[in-house]
């Protein structure tokens, strides 16, 4: 039990830059060192975790914890993954609170903000590639972005609508196929 916690605490602590950066470390710890799951199993888990909502790394840790020790294992693994974030961010938030009015801190963050926008814009192209965006379905991201950006539609609603539309379109295709 403590091993699960320790392993996922380390994974949470030593990866910077989000879920996908964690995959190599998860593989090294969970497959190579502990042999909790096989490499093939991990690849399956990654595929399922990607299609589940929520934080990718937490999903994987819950999966592995569940496999090892059931519900309690899942709980311990999830806490292990989240705890380093929680501690680091709270420490920063409490310190940042004191220096918020500092003029250098303000200049620093004014320089950072445009860079952050660029760092969020880049994954758009990367994701467009992996989502197989072509000239036939490029209208979907454009319309979704427009609805959120200009009309203030909630992204949650877009996710819901897109899922339902995908399902409905599949049913429609199936019906077409049966009729012809």
């Amino acid at each position: 039990m403590f091993e699960l916690f320790k392993t996922f605490f380390q994974i949470g602590l030593f990866t910077i830059g989000g879920g996908y950066a964690m995959i190599p470390l998860i593989e090294q710890k969970v497959v190579d060192e502990k042999a909790w799951v096989s490499k093939e199993e991990l690849l399956d888990l990654i595929a399922v975790a990607q299609s589940c909502p929520g934080v990718f790394a937490v999903n994987i840790s819950i999966f592995i914890g569940l496999k090892r020790m059931g519900g309690r294992g899942a709980l311990v693994s999830a806490i292990g993954t989240c705890l380093p974030s929680f501690i680091c961010i709270l420490a920063i938030a409490l310190v940042f609170q004191q220096f918020r009015e500092n003029v250098y801190v303000e200049h620093f963050f004014r320089g950072i903000r445009p860079a952050v926008v660029a760092l969020i814009l880049l994954p758009v192209f990367r994701m467009a590639k992996s989502a197989k965006i072509t000239r036939y379905n490029v209208w979907i991201p454009i319309i979704s972005a427009f609805l959120i950006w200009k009309l203030g539609v909630s992204p949650i609603f877009i996710v819901l609508a897109a899922g339902i539309a995908g399902y409905a379109y599949g049913q429609y295709l199936k019906g077409d196929f049966l009729n012809s």
């Binding site: 399922v48 999830a78 961010i89 200049h107 963050f109 969020i120 965006i133 995908g166 599949g170």
Partner: protein, 193 residues
């Protein structure tokens, strides 16, 4: 305060439930709810939180939930100790849907992940998530983050330059996000933005 805590919990529960497509896609949901809908913080503060979430250990989704929970309470005028409660609640709520889903349907998921209906739903979701991320970047390109030509032309031009620099530095030269953020922050201090 109870209302704020409940809203925080409910919001992050929904974000955890509908957050398909990883940390960056989740940022779009957080932005939509926390900045646009509830106005718990300004777009500038949200951008700072994203910067810090990207450059500290841990998944971006958890980092930003923790920080947003803290900031929402402190911005509403409560003491930092209540902020800690806020960050705990937001983090807990964002993980809860994953937890419930996994406990209930992890076996079903393994079995049916190649089922046509699941494939169809994702054929709609995947392109939309790209749109979510695009909208998040467009919303961040505002005068709070870039200033404006009429307001402060110096800061506006430097901001545009730093934006292009960060884009090229990562796309072409593959510099890590932390290095880019540090360089741009130092440039901000040196140039007196």
């Amino acid at each position: 305060m109870i209302t704020l805590l409940l809203q925080l919990f409910w919001t992050f529960f929904l974000i955890g439930l509908f957050g398909f497509g990883g940390g960056y896609a989740m940022l779009s949901l957080i932005q939509g709810e926390v900045v646009e809908h509830y106005h718990w913080m300004t777009m500038g503060q949200f951008t700072d939180i994203v910067a810090i979430s990207q450059s500290t250990p841990g998944p971006i989704g958890i980092n930003s939930a923790t920080y947003v929970g803290y900031t929402a309470l402190v911005n509403a005028g409560y003491e930092p100790c209540w902020g800690i409660l806020g960050s705990f609640l937001a983090t807990f709520a964002v993980v809860l849907p994953s937890f419930i889903l996994m406990l209930m349907i992890s076996k079903l998921l393994m079995k049916y992940r190649n089922h046509p209906i699941v494939e169809n739903v994702f054929s709609g979701l995947r392109p939309a998530v790209v749109g979510l991320l695009l909208a998040a970047s467009l919303l961040l390109m505002n005068s709070e983050n870039f200033s404006s030509m009429s307001d402060n032309p110096w800061r506006y031009c430097i901001s545009l330059f730093l934006f292009c620099f960060a884009f090229i530095a990562q796309k072409v030269y593959r510099l890590g996000p932390i290095l880019i953020i540090l360089l741009c922050g130092v440039a901000g201090i040196v140039l007196g933005l």
